[in-house]
Amino acid sequence: MNDKHILIIAELDEDRLKPVTFELSHHAKNMESNPDNILLVITGTAPGHAAREASERTGLDVLCVTVSGTEFMTNATRKDVVVSAAKRFNPSYILCPHSSEGTDYGPGLAVRLSAACISAVNGITRGEDGSLLFSRSICGGQYNALMKPDTKPAVILVQPGLFPTEKNQGEPGRIIAETYTTQIGHIRMTGIEKTRESSSELGQAKVIVAAGRGVGNKENLDAIRRFAALFPGAAVAGSRPLIDMGWLEYRYQVGITGNVVSPPVYIACGISGSTQHIAGMGTSGYVIAINSDPHAAIFNVSDLCIVDDIIGFIDAFEDFEKEE
């Protein structure tokens, strides 16, 4: 079999392809002009349908690996499958999603292949010498770092949801079907739970007032609630640490592991603006951020920036409204 310049590792939700797979194929085609040099790898207990869909929608060749010997496939197995594919196809880049699953197997995969691993990639550019550079956000979004891999292959984990998916106009790609039998290993998956209790309140709100760690303590959430009460149709939400600390219920969490919201107005109060939070509110209509740190990353994704102590500001705002 011919070498491939790029391997794309697809992500499935049960047996269906997740959109990130098509974001990765979009990236791969920007990195490599000849699609024949790109191979999409799909691994699962019943991946046939996904493989056909992927070959039609991307036009890329697909390596479809059916795993038997287990009801639920683990990432340990996925890692074995991708290592074997990497040894045969000798790629320069292995693109995976920077998702919970991708970060579970990607770093270990890189160690096995003696490869660099660049994660949470939010952009791909070319350096002056034409080499590919991968940008990623660091320090809670305060800076962007441009990284260059020094190995072949390099494992690249790309942040989902930041880039367009693509649709192929041409012929579907070839499907190479293989099977893989797993042994019962040191990790066994015993079940899948869906605890999604998405809050319709957040979905319908005209304004979301979201509190972060900057509010200081649970009692101060009252100030956030009073602030929200000034705006008809407003709802209160929070960043993940507030849910982790038990200040708010999970259904009010905004972010990659919570709700993805898009209200006409989003007011971020004492929220730093980490990538995981922005993934849940970045498409809001008008974003206002109130934060005491003028360098907070949230200001980069805000229309209006107010540098102030959140509680002091809200108190003053309430007083002003009473006088009006």
């Binding site: 160690v111 691993c117 994660s119 320090c139 015993t190 899948i192 200001f299 980069n300 209006l304």
Partner: protein
């Protein structure tokens, strides 16, 4: 049981660092303050809870960083850790996680650990890689993003839940020794106690000198992120800011 927890010293979000003059990495500024990576507090707490329920459990912590990284080991002692290992390393340039994992793995291999905990992510480098890489270096199984843990010491295994996006959780069972990376919210990390902090001051820290491992990637450039929206900063006194926000919200029909 022997448990190892990977703890990292990171700059506090609010007390920011700066971009170095070469633009190749970040450096500390006069206002920079450090703390223990928030996710590692959850990892350490999980280890300390096991120590409280399983007799004869030892909790070691390990950190790789410059001299001042010792402060996180002292904090871990204050929370109840037994032994601290400090791999002395210059971090004034980007440290490749595979190199960090190779060094930590080398030390971890000497300790006969049943459980190794790491945080899900470091707040400064935000890679979500190091714990998983340590597992691979040691040839151990690994579960990342753990939000619930039950230990069955007799059977030599753990039952865990790992979190995916949008409220999905996978239940898994893993044989020890195993590496687990811990997500926030799994517990409520304790504060150091005064008596333990006082004792910690006299406690030894095993310091291991640097033995650099070649990196597999280079940080070429650090820059401030581009503004993705208008980013209009409301200037003036607090009263001015209040008035301006009220005006804008009225204009947008958000407020009567």
């Amino acid at each position: 049981m022997n448990i190892l927890v990977l703890i990292k010293q990171v700059p506090q979000t609010e007390a920011a660092t700066e971009i170095n003059p070469a633009g190749s990495y970040i450096e500390r500024s006069p206002v920079t303050l450090y703390k223990m990576n928030r996710f590692d507090e959850y990892a350490l707490e999980e280890a300390l809870r096991i120590k409280e329920t399983c007799p004869e459990t030892r909790v070691d912590v390990i950190t790789l960083g410059p001299e001042h990284a010792k402060e996180v080991i002292r904090r871990a002692y204050g929370m109840g850790a037994d032994n601290g290992i400090h791999i002395l390393a210059d971090n004034s340039n980007y440290l490749d996680p595979s190199a960090v994992a190779a060094r930590i793995g080398e030390e971890a291999a000497k300790g006969n650990y049943d459980l190794i905990f790491a945080g899900i992510m470091s707040e400064d480098m935000m890679q979500s890689q190091t714990g998983q890489m340590v597992a691979e270096v040691l040839g151990l199984p690994c579960v990342s993003s753990v939000v619930a843990l039950t230990l069955d010491e007799r059977a030599g295994k753990v039952m865990v839940k790992r979190e995916l996006e949008g409220g999905v959780r996978h239940s898994l069972e893993a044989d020890m020794p195993v590496v687990l990376t811990v997500q926030a919210g799994i517990n409520t990390p304790r504060y150091p106690t005064l008596s333990k902090v006082l004792k910690a001051n006299g406690k030894d820290i095993t310091t291991i000198t640097e033995n650099p491992v070649p990196p597999r990637q280079t940080c070429v450039l650090i820059r401030y992120p581009e503004k993705q929206r208008a980013g209009v900063v409301v200037e003036g006194s607090r009263a001015d800011k209040v008035r301006e926000l009220a005006r804008i919200l009225r204009q947008k029909n958000i407020m009567r």
